[in-house]
Amino acid sequence: MRLEPIEAPSPARRIVPPALAMAATFLVAAALALIAGGNPFAVFGLILTGAFGSKFALLETLNSATPLIFTGLAIAVAFRAKLWNIGAEAQLYAGAVLTVILGTGALGLPSYLMLPLCGLAAMLAGALLLLGPALLKTRLGVDEVVTTLLFNFIFLLFVSYLLEGPLKDPMGMGWPKSARLTSEARLPRIVEGLRLHWGFALALVAALLVWVINTRTTLGYEMRAVGQNAEAAGFAGIPVTRVILKTALLSGGLAGLAGFSEVSGLKGALTLDLSPGFGYTGIVVAMLALLHPLGVVLAALFVAAIFVGADSMSRAVGVPSYIADIMLASALLFMVLAILLTKFRVRRD
């Protein structure tokens, strides 16, 4: 079998394979639900109502989508410029660490200064964390996939050290946990009494801003050019190295914001389970969104809905919530294949 590139794909060819990919995802999940002894229709119904069925469920889904929007944007920005940032997990924690350092009482600032300060510091921390691998890539040609991926482990161990040492909550009864943020450093809820916090709105604004940067600004044009064809970009006088470094700062900054939003909006303190792999799931989100910043919002909602819905479904019918992981994994695999099929046709030798 061989792949033959398609010069100008028809609209049908651009829509049908991704639609089939989603269909295949649900087929796989349906089969697994059957094996686990559930009625697939009931399972999907419960996932749906579990994710969107009540005000509580909906807000839970939006809250869960928030960090994924940030990390998804971080990945989408980087991948579009062919900077393979696998380190959003560490960048998220770097943002969270800075938020905790500044927000647990060290500074006596009012909320309207405290929150921007924590947010910017978190962005800076995430940005600087990715700047290192980006410099290694541009200066010495070190593969950033390896450096960013492995740095995740180093940084998580560093956070673990911080939570056992300097940042440990003296009132925490020995748990590896930071002190709680002061109320000035907490992102308020959008509507009083409902759990949804302003981090979600911030994530939507971030998505909009990234879209504007991509399409309207000089930097966006440069990032796209470098990503699509660095050789032609360099020949045309685009400062490729500088563009890659700026991309790294933007990407790392977005991931850092995820950490800020989670600590300040949701958890109120830093623990080692702040992120159940949002940095990695962000890759899935970005890929499902075809690296489009507004698509990232939709993809993050989809992923969050599956996780939240599957949790509630498994409580109801006893089909394990692992089905969410499988759905996500198969959605990604089928989608990658589908994207291939929008660009190539398969020929049999």
Binding site: A8, A225, A236, D349
Partner: protein, 514 residues
């Protein structure tokens, strides 16, 4: 019809049709190839030559029609079947493994390299016999990475002969050869034909087609529009058949040189892998002159072009622009200093395939002309692109389509427009017409001549000696990074330049020893 005696038909194409979406690459193409015959396949770029050969070779499946080899129908879409039936193809871009030796490359895919049955001694002696018989001099034990381009081509041909090819397809075989090497290739082909081999020869170069072929098939827009016995046609007729209209090459008058605009003094650059850097090069580009740089590819043209493009800096020596020594040299400063650069590879270096025409048109000037405080002015960029499309006759549906959908000629016109709009003082044109059809070639040449006439200094780098001799006021030859003296228009015959291209003459002034 063929005037020779009815030789055996070895290959028959019957009604071959191939479509890519709305584009018809081949339509109802039928022809026969006889034993011991050379057919030339002539056509503009995009006329469907390569598609047709890929179908014959099983890489594409035809939508309609069939291929018969030696009376047997060829199963469609099976490269192995074509190989086994005795079809050999020498691609324009060689398909050899640099890290293997000549003999290993030749048996690759035929015999199992890891197998115990392989007997290197026998293989090598068979290769030696073949290379003697067909005058294809090459050492079977040499590493391919060390070979010259001409030698590599010989290995490709040997590879086909080793597999007992009865039909040899050569895709633009002389593009990378000196005139002398091309002569040797033709001698080899004569020998091969005498033994009954049949050849399909794909070329743009009319004089080669006239010299080597028995029959000429002309493809235009995927259709076979004409078939001529070579001895009953001429270059003018073939050129007209190719483009469907009488074409006249622009006549370019000689011009007196103006002030020197750019000069290199004893400039050297490091070697880049197998590609040599510049070796103490002296070169002056004068206003109102086209300076031609002839040479076999891979002799330092890339280094010179990269240097003038701002991609590399001299390791030693001095580069002067309008009397000023250059510091902080980069692509952006080259553009700012008024150097128009037409890159060798318009797909890889000149354009970004998935960007639309507007995004490509402003690639070099977006920062200075189409961006304000970090924001792009897309409305102005689009209007600018529309103007370019008009002025430079880029045939396209509009400025919003992706550039990958344009033909090579139209792509090149957009690049030309992009750089010439700035009224550059210096123009670096590296292989500006490679792969273009005759109409586009003439257009590019006219634009270069026009720029020269308004006082620009043009450096034309080309592997096509005809092009160099037709356009240049001064000709230099480059060989292994060294530059010959400048020869005035008309002062050298092609064979003399060929001698310089092969590296003769450079040492004469340097040393009498060795």
């Amino acid at each position: 019809m063929s005037t020779t005696t009815e030789a055996q038909v070895v290959l028959r194409l019957q009604g071959i049709t191939k479509r890519f979406g709305p584009v018809t690459a081949n339509e109802e193409v039928s022809f026969d190839l006889h034993r011991g015959e050379v057919i030339a396949l002539l056509g503009e770029n995009g006329a469907g030559k390569t598609t047709l050969m890929n179908i014959l070779f099983g890489q594409y499946t035809a939508d309609a029609g069939e291929v018969e080899l030696f009376g047997q129908p060829l199963p469609p879409g099976a490269p192995r079947a074509a190989l086994d039936a005795g079809v050999g193809m020498v691609h324009q871009h060689f398909t050899l493994a640099d890290n293997l030796t000549v003999w290993e490359n030749i048996v690759l895919g035929v015999d199992d390299l890891s197998g115990l049955s392989l007997k290197p001694r026998e293989v090598k002696s068979r290769i030696r016999a073949l290379s003697e018989r067909f005058h294809l001099k090459v050492d079977p034990s040499a590493k391919v990475g060390r070979l010259t381009v001409g030698e590599r081509q010989r290995v490709e041909i040997l590879k086909a002969l080793y597999r007992d090819a009865k039909i040899l397809i050569l895709d633009e075989p002389t593009a990378v050869l000196t005139p002398q090497e091309a002569e040797a290739l033709f001698a080899t082909l004569e020998e091969a034909i005498a033994t009954g081999l049949s050849v399909i020869f794909i070329s743009h170069k009319l004089h080669e087609v006239m010299a080597i072929s028995h029959r000429v098939l002309v493809l235009r827009h995927g259709q076979l529009v004409a078939e001529r016995a070579t001895d009953s046609t001429n270059r003018e007729e073939l050129a007209a058949l190719m483009v469907g209209a009488e074409v006249a090459a622009p006549s370019i008058e000689s011009a007196a040189p103006g002030a020197p605009l750019l000069s290199l003094r004893e400039v050297s650059t490091p070697d880049h892998g197998a590609a040599p850097g510049l070796k103490s090069l002296n070169l002056t580009l004068a206003a109102g002159q086209i300076t031609g740089l002839a040479g076999v590819s891979g002799n330092g043209q890339a280094a010179l072009s990269d240097l003038l493009s701002g991609l590399i800096t001299p390791a030693s020596g001095e580069m002067m622009l309008a009397g000023q020594s250059i510091k902080n040299w980069s692509a952006r400063s080259a553009i700012a200093q008024g150097i128009a650069r037409i890159p060798e590879d318009r797909h890889k270096t000149g354009t970004i395939a998935d960007f639309d025409l507007t995004e490509n048109a402003i690639l070099e000037t977006y920062a200075s002309r189409f961006s304000r405080r970090g924001w792009m002015d897309w409305a102005r960029a689009r209007a600018f692109t529309k103007d370019l499309i008009q002025t430079y006759d880029v045939r396209c549906p509009g400025p919003d389509i992706r550039i990958r959908l344009l033909s090579g000629g139209n792509m090149q016109k957009l690049i030309l427009g992009r750089v010439l709009e700035e009224e550059p003082q210096i123009i670096l044109a590296n292989q500006p017409v490679r792969g273009l059809d005759i109409g586009a070639v003439n257009y590019v040449h006219e634009q270069l001549a026009k720029a020269r006439d308004r006082g620009a200094a043009v450096l034309l780098i080309s592997e096509d000696l005809d092009e160099i001799m037709q356009l240049s006021d001064v000709i230099h030859v480059i060989s292994e990074g060294r530059l010959s003296p400048g020869f005035a228009r008309g002062s050298m015959r092609p064979e003399e330049l060929g001698g310089w291209m092969a590296g003769h003459g450079f040492d004469a002034e340097a040393t009498d020893a060795a």
